[in-house]
């Protein structure tokens, strides 16, 4: 739980199972899944498949809501956000792969509110790696790791749709 | 003042001289070539090792902007620029304010220029009053006041009957009429050659036919009236060809090109460079080559600077709103040398286009260095390349399309009537 630098990273597939198990009880509230581009969007898609069936699914590209736009400008690749359902009064499960500073989640919530006023937002992440800069916490977490500021955790998806985690050391 | 110019390469195109020899000057005139006259004791000796001595340049078109446009340039600033460029005689077009259409104005201009004691100034009188193209000026009296020819400058003369009468009247007194061939209707509103670049940039165009149609009219009237006409600033291949044929038919015509036209094309406009807004417009590579050939084979008699100092405000506006023209007095020698280098023309032949030939067109005693001639001399270093820096130009007009370029030929000394007018 509070390991320093993990000798080996957790198996992403197992974390998906853990998330699925934690989310299943929420299905009674008629929620919708919204993944944050790009890892969160893959994960949301997978969770819907695991949870079975007809949960509404959306994706957000938060390029237009980033708080570092003034410093780094617009990403050269933006994808349209796609929310094919009414956000108003809906229970939204916001999905991302890695929770770090919290800034991405802030941008995503701002964007979500521009579609309407959700009844409730639950944040689900595969890995919480610590290092928060905003008062944001996930309610549903696959694993908690403690990484150093220079380190960067990335979710990968292979040709068969299987997930794995990769650690990049800081430059 | 007696001056001994020691060991220059003397090039005097009119006398066919190109040799290493000393020059001796006294009382404002050349008194010896090679050997000094007896009992010659120089007050000053100029060491001209490595320099070329040639007759002071004769520029047949330089706007001095006085009277009327002193915010663009003054007589003093531009005549200093002239001698800095090795130009010792120049003709100025009549498009001042007021227009040079009265003898008093011409006399005043000549007087003021003489006071400055720099280059000799030869005004061209207006062909029509206020250059309006309607009523003839008093050409006879203007000639007596010092006009060496009569011109419309860049003002249109659309009424061909007035043009025919002007030529008849000038022919009566043996006066030369200077005309820039451009059909006013085809050129109306145009700011660039009507070609690829104008199409791309969306600039209103002036077709080549604006020049050739006007030339056809003028040449027909020359044949008709017998008037002597000097054709100013040719810009097109077909125009040069028409003059070549007219000369073959022994029509009394001559012509010139602006030195910048030998080096630039429409493509130099780039992204709306207003310094390349010129009259006539820069044309195609093919036209440029034809102009060079014309100068080389003598179809084009003279190369001039078409010096037009323009204030910054008139260039710091969108292209079509900018005032046409480039500053040129300090570029005439260098651009002529550069053309000679690139086209493989011998220096005496090249220098003839800016010395003896323009003097012949103006019918003035200048542009040669015979013993007894007025000592107007340009001494330049042909090996020295200078970088064009607008702030270093003496002309008040800093408007040049050659900004930042390296040009050959640096004027070291300019003598006007045996006096040192410039030293660098």
């Amino acid at each position: 739980m509070h390991a320093s630098i993990p000798p080996s990273l957790p198996d992403a597939e197992r974390l998906v199972d853990a998330l699925t198990a934690q989310l299943r009880p929420l299905l009674g509230q008629d929620p919708a899944l919204v993944g944050i581009h790009s890892g969160g969007a893959w994960l949301a898609q997978r969770l819907r498949d695991e949870l079975g069936g007809d949960i509404p699914l959306g994706a957000l590209d938060i390029s237009f809501y980033r708080d570092d736009f003034k410093r780094i400008g617009l990403h050269t690749q933006t994808k349209p956000s796609n929310i094919p359902f009414e956000v108003e009064d809906r229970h939204i499960i916001l999905v991302d792969d890695v929770l770090y500073t919290g800034r991405t989640i802030r941008g995503a919530m701002n964007e979500l509110f521009d579609y309407g006023r959700p009844a409730r937002i639950t944040l689900a992440v595969l890995v919480d790696r610590g290092g928060r800069e905003l008062p944001i916490e996930a309610q549903v977490v696959g694993a908690r790791l403690h990484l150093l500021p220079g380190q960067n955790l990335e979710l990968l998806r292979d040709g068969n749709g299987r997930f794995s985690l990769k650690l990049h050391e800081g430059s | 003042m007696k001056i001994h110019i020691r060991n220059p390469r003397l090039i005097d195109p009119r006398n066919g001289i190109d040799t290493q020899c000393d020059l001796f000057i006294a009382a404002g005139r050349v008194v010896g070539i090679g050997n000094p006259p007896v009992a010659f004791h120089a007050n000053q000796t100029i060491d001209a090792d490595g320099l070329i001595a040639c007759p002071g340049l004769v520029d047949i078109s330089a706007r001095l902007r006085e009277p009327g446009f002193e915010y663009k340039a003054t007589l003093e600033s531009e005549l200093k620029a002239a001698v800095a460029g090795g130009v010792t005689s120049l003709a100025c077009p009549p498009d001042t304010d007021p227009v040079l259409d009265e003898p008093g104005l011409v006399e005043m201009l000549k007087y003021r220029a003489k006071q400055l004691n720099l280059a000799h100034v030869y005004p061209l009188g207006a062909l029509t009053r206020r250059l309006e193209g309607k009523q003839l000026t008093e050409m006879n009296q203007l000639m007596e006041a010092g006009c060496v020819g009569f011109s419309q400058a860049n003002a249109p003369l659309t009424d061909t009957q007035v043009l025919r009468h002007a030529l008849q009247y000038a022919a009566t007194f043996g006066l030369t009429v200077w005309l820039r061939p451009e059909d006013a209707w085809l050129a109306r509103g145009g700011v660039a050659h009507d070609g690829e670049v104008a199409a791309r940039l969306g600039l209103p165009g002036i077709p080549s036919s604006a020049e050739t149609i006007a030339l056809a009219t003028i040449l027909t009237l020359v044949e008709d009236t017998g008037a002597r006409v000097h054709l100013c600033r040719l810009s097109t291949r077909d125009g040069v060809e028409m003059v070549r044929q007219a000369k073959a038919r022994r029509l009394p015509v001559s012509c010139d090109v602006a030195a910048h036209q030998l080096h630039l094309t429409e493509h130099d406009i780039g992204y709306f460079e207003t310094h390349c807004h010129l009259k006539p417009p820069l044309r195609t590579q093919r036209d440029k080559e034809a102009l060079r050939t014309g100068v080389a084979d003598g179809t084009v008699d003279a190369v001039c600077s078409d010096h037009t100092p323009v204030d910054d405000d008139a260039k710091l506006v969108p292209f079509a709103e900018s005032e046409a023209g480039a500053t040129g007095l300090e570029f005439l020698l260098s651009l002529t040398l550069k053309w000679a280098q690139e086209s493989g023309i011998a220096l005496p032949a090249a220098l003839a286009r800016v010395t003896s030939e323009p003097a012949r067109l103006l019918q003035i005693d200048a542009g040669h260095l015979s013993v007894g001639a007025v000592a107007d001399i340009c001494l330049f270093d042909p090996e020295h390349y200078w970088k064009v820096d607008p702030q270093a130009l003496l002309s008040q007009g800093k408007n040049t399309p050659f900004l930042g370029l390296e040009l050959p030929g640096k004027v070291r000394w300019t003598l006007v009537a045996g006096q040192i007018a410039h030293r660098a």
């Binding site: 400008g73 | 940039l201 969306g202 600039l203 079509a320």
Partner: protein, 317 residues
């Protein structure tokens, strides 16, 4: 020669003309515009990207329509917007265009949207403004109207995604049209293999074929089997004079009617930059018909302008 539109890192600094823009930048603008197209369909049609920035619409030539779309685009990016119609008034008071611009820079404008009757006006301003200011050309003389060209290719890409397999015809007053020049450069840069221009000789520039287009004078031949028909507006002052004898004769020869459109491919789309002269360059039956995408062009114009502004504002100081 340096491309005045790109910064030293090759990012878009000013948008002055389509000519000279690399294909990847054009594509990036169109892709970003796709993302913004979705924003316009939401409850809150606004993103916070340009919060705290000031966009200044500087219109030396009036155009309510273009100015409005730039205003909406800037407001949807959360920028502050000032619109000035300069006309001739301050110019006749002796203030130069540069004075006007520098005054606005001193008031901390970040992006200038410039419209001017002279070709090259936007280039001129871009060359002389402070380095942190960005300039968007909203139409300069006959030269360029790059956001119009971009929204036109954006529209084409939406309806005909395979740009490498298209025949496009541009019909009308090419000579005086900045829209046509922008469209031609945008289409050829994006790899459209056949761009045709259809006009009488009086409305075509010299050497127009050097822009990479095929020239037709007969509309029936020119429209044969095309996928896209782009009509141009004929200005009133050109209708009766030495360029054209009359609007009626123009409509007869070059107006887009249902029977002429029938020569194009059955699924061809019809475009017009507006405002339309119905009955002069286009028949109402075509303008309002099923093949017309003229209104979607207007909608997409906002997304394209949002994309351009956000890319410029993000290209740094």
């Amino acid at each position: 020669m340096n491309n005045p539109q790109l910064d030293k890192n090759g990012r878009l600094k000013h948008l002055l003309s389509i000519e000279g823009l690399p294909k990847d930048i054009l594509t990036q603008i169109l892709d970003t515009a796709e993302s913004f197209a979705g924003v316009s369909e939401r409850e809150v049609k606004k993103v916070p990207l340009l919060r705290g920035r000031t966009v200044c619409n500087l219109f030396f030539e009036n155009s309510t329509r273009t100015r409005t779309t730039f205003e909406i685009a800037a407001k949807r990016l959360s920028a502050d917007v000032v619109s000035l119609h300069i006309g001739t008034s301050s110019q006749s008071k002796g203030e130069t265009m540069l004075d006007t611009v520098n005054n606005l820079v001193a008031m901390h404008a970040d992006i200038f949207v410039v419209r001017h009757a002279q070709s090259g006006a936007a280039h001129f301003i871009a060359r002389h403004v402070a380095p942190h200011v960005h300039v968007i050309n909203a139409g300069d003389g006959r030269h360029s109207h790059p956001t119009q060209g971009l929204l036109d290719v954006f529209t084409i890409r939406r309806y005909k995604p395979d740009m490498h397999n298209l025949r496009v015809a541009i019909v009308g007053d090419i000579l005086h049209s900045r829209v046509a020049r922008s469209e031609i450069h945008a289409l050829t840069t994006l790899g459209v293999p056949e761009v045709r221009v259809i006009a009488p000789k009086t409305l075509l520039p010299e050497y127009v074929e050097r822009l990479g287009v095929h020239v037709y004078h007969d509309m029936r031949q020119g429209l044969k089997d095309v996928d896209v028909v782009m009509m141009l507006r004929l200005q009133n002052e050109r209708m009766n004079g030495a360029l054209l004898p009359s609007a009626q004769e123009y409509f007869k020869c070059y107006g887009l009617t249902p029977d002429k459109l029938a020569l194009a491919r059955p699924d061809a789309i019809v475009m017009h930059p507006g405002p339309m002269n119905r009955g002069i360059e286009i028949d109402s039956a075509v303008a309002d018909g099923t093949q017309s995408v003229i209104l979607p062009q207007v909608t997409y114009g906002i997304a394209v302008r949002m994309a351009v502004m956000s890319m410029l504002a993000g290209s740094g100081e």
